[in-house]
Amino acid sequence: MTTPTVVLTNNKGGVGKTTTTLNLAYGLCQSLKQAGAANPRVLIVDTDSQAHATLTATGSKDYTRHNSLCAVLGADRKDVTEILSRVIVASHWLPELHVIPSSAELEATERELFSTPGAPYRLADALGVIRHHYAAIVIDTRPSFSLMTEMGLLAATDAVITLEPRYLETVGLQSVINKIYEIREGWRHPDLRLSGIVVTKFDRRVKGHQEMVESLRQHPNLGKLLCGIIPANEAVAYAHRSHLSVYAYDPTSTASEAYAQMVGWMLKRLFVKEAV
């Protein structure tokens, strides 16, 4: 069984991609340990130059182009293994949860790669070298359909869309799905599947949120992919500020419970050998 590689994506910003990446990765790692998995290691790949996932999971943002994802993407093929060994760091949450950190210089690296043949596959090729070492890989993407996001999608086996329960977001959902299928069909990456939709910042007091979630549930295809409804909860924001997972910050919060449910759903999705 190949290592499941989940990419969290949406070209809209502020929809909870980074928060979901972090809590999914931590939840998977902790649950795998809890279940007695032979290999509980999980890797977070931060492809967003804002490096928020990096800061929250490692407690540091002081990464440069020499010890971050920039170095991995810019490396010659024969040097990739050595550079990955140097770049990957352990999170300060769990020893089995590792991070390929991002840095502000990632945008410059991306620009440099535009003219490089095979650039979209650079992340997939690099992760191929260490994929076997991990039970799962979770990729955080930036809020755009840039080369970096395409790299993330080409490196992934499972795409998860995060979205806020608002009208315009729902309209934009189709463009995200189209992008995933464009990568799958147009770029001949048949291993990529749309594996889940996570609704974030859900407020049950807002009628529009309830209607939107209900319509998603009723949808014949998308309804089956609805893997989490994360309530708007101040614990999420404070967890970021404390550089903690939401489970560690406030295990009794509604957001913690919702993310835990989502992790369980993803475990079933990722670790059962079923037809795509």
Binding site: A35, A37, S85, P95, A235, D250, P251, V272
Partner: protein, 395 residues
């Protein structure tokens, strides 16, 4: 705002409900807990050979430097190739590339024999060419030794295939692979010194010194002594000289079976070879001298053992020649105050008024020895004795 209800137990509580069978179902749990063996493609740069592996692929000196982390695998191979180039040049068979060595080996088949150093590298190159042509069918077995976020693996079985892959990648033109090789990954608790031993002893080619190191590793392992991290010197194996299976009878069958089903006596004979000095060990290993030859060398004083092994290698002496040479050497050795019979004969020869001709001496000695190689060795010893004698008389 400080964390609420923070604590490892509360954090686990929230996720423990999903980490059980009732929530995930039997199939997910089975997949998660799947500790079965499977073949993965691993980047060769993440893999290191086992420093304690009894079967040496690299010459001992390069092996030590490499495992001290002073040189990379590619530098180790470059040094190895250079060492073989020097030997080949001395023998009048210079080669430029490894493919030249491969061809030279074919040309020399049946005529001049390659030295063991040339032959080993040629065999390794041949394996590399086979890997290029047919792919690697037999995966390496590696043990996960990752620490922190850095993945790393140590080879349990398949070190020759590891080096052959590097030769294929770096020293044979036209490599188009991705630097990944098929491996079976074991967790540290699954590693077994017995499995490694069985792999080593079940195939041809583990020479007497390799068997001695293997015996030592097993004896040390059952006594709870494990190899240090990094370079493993001959002194590590020599610790086994003080150990046996008497106090570890429960492991006797496993150890003897892992050694290829040999007897206790044979195990002991191999183990005793570790008493040879470092230089003798290296030469005996490189030239694959037999245990029954080396056991006679062990009877000599320690300071003579390396020289004896050098002579055996230089003159390609067989076991009978070595036995006779050493028996006679012991006969010549002074015993108490009474001079040995041979010493008296030698003294009389020197006192003789008329020195016999070279032809006469050669004929008489050949009649006695019936072996020109032993005779030549004895002449060399005699020359050394004469030099010593002169020095003694001057004093």
């Amino acid at each position: 705002m400080p964390p609420k209800h923070n604590g490892p137990n509360r954090t686990l509580d929230i996720l423990s409900s999903i980490g059980d069978q009732a929530f995930l179902g039997a199939e997910v749990m089975q997949n998660l807990r799947d500790h079965g063996l499977r073949v993965d493609r691993i980047a060769i740069a993440l893999i290191r050979p086992d420093a304690a592996q009894p079967r040496r692929v690299l010459p001992e000196t390069i092996h030590q430097v490499f495992h001290n982390q002073e040189i990379t695998p590619i530098q180790a191979l470059k040094q190895y190739i250079e060492k073989v180039r020097i030997v080949a040049r001395e023998k009048g068979r210079p080669f430029e590339t490894l493919l030249d060595l491969l061809m030279a080996g074919e040309e020399n088949e049946g005529s001049t024999q390659l030295t063991p150093l040339e032959q080993d590298l040629r065999d390794l190159t041949n394996l590399a060419v086979t890997l290029r042509q047919d792919g690697q069918v037999n995966p390496l077995t590696i043990v996960d030794h990752s620490q922190g976020a850095v993945p790393s693996y140590i080879i349990e079985t398949g070190e020759r295939r590891y080096w052959a892959n590097y030769i294929d990648m770096e020293f044979i033109p036209g490599y188009q692979g991705d630097g990944m090789i098929p491996c079976i990954i074991l967790q540290p608790h699954q590693a077994s010194v017995f499995r490694q031993a069985k792999e080593n002893t079940s195939r041809a080619g583990l020479n007497a010194i390799g068997m001695a190191r293997q015996a030592a590793l097993l004896l040390l392992a059952v006594h709870g002594i494990h190899p240090p991290d990094g370079c493993v010197t001959p002194d590590f194996y020599r610790q086994a000289l003080d150990l046996d299976l008497r106090s570890k009878r429960e492991y006797s069958t496993d150890v003897l079976s892992a050694m290829g089903g040999i007897s206790r006596q044979r195990l002991s004979q191999y183990k005793l070879l570790l008493g040879l000095p470092d230089e003798a060990l290296e030469l005996a290993d490189r030239y694959s001298l037999e245990e029954r030859v080396l056991r006679y060398v062990l009877q000599l004083p320690v300071e003579m053992q390396s020289e004896a092994v050098r002579q055996i290698v230089q003159h390609d002496l067989d076991v009978n020649q070595v036995r006779r040479m050493l028996d006679e050497a012991q006969e010549v050795a002074p015993k108490g105050s009474v001079p040995a019979r041979n010493s008296l004969q030698f003294a009389r020869l020197i006192q003789a008024k008329e020195v016999p001709s070279v032809e006469e001496i050669a004929q008489i000695l050949l009649d006695q020895e019936e072996d020109v190689v032993i005779l030549r060795r004895k002449v060399e010893l005699l020359r050394e004795v004469l030099v010593e004698l002169e020095r003694h008389l001057e004093g």
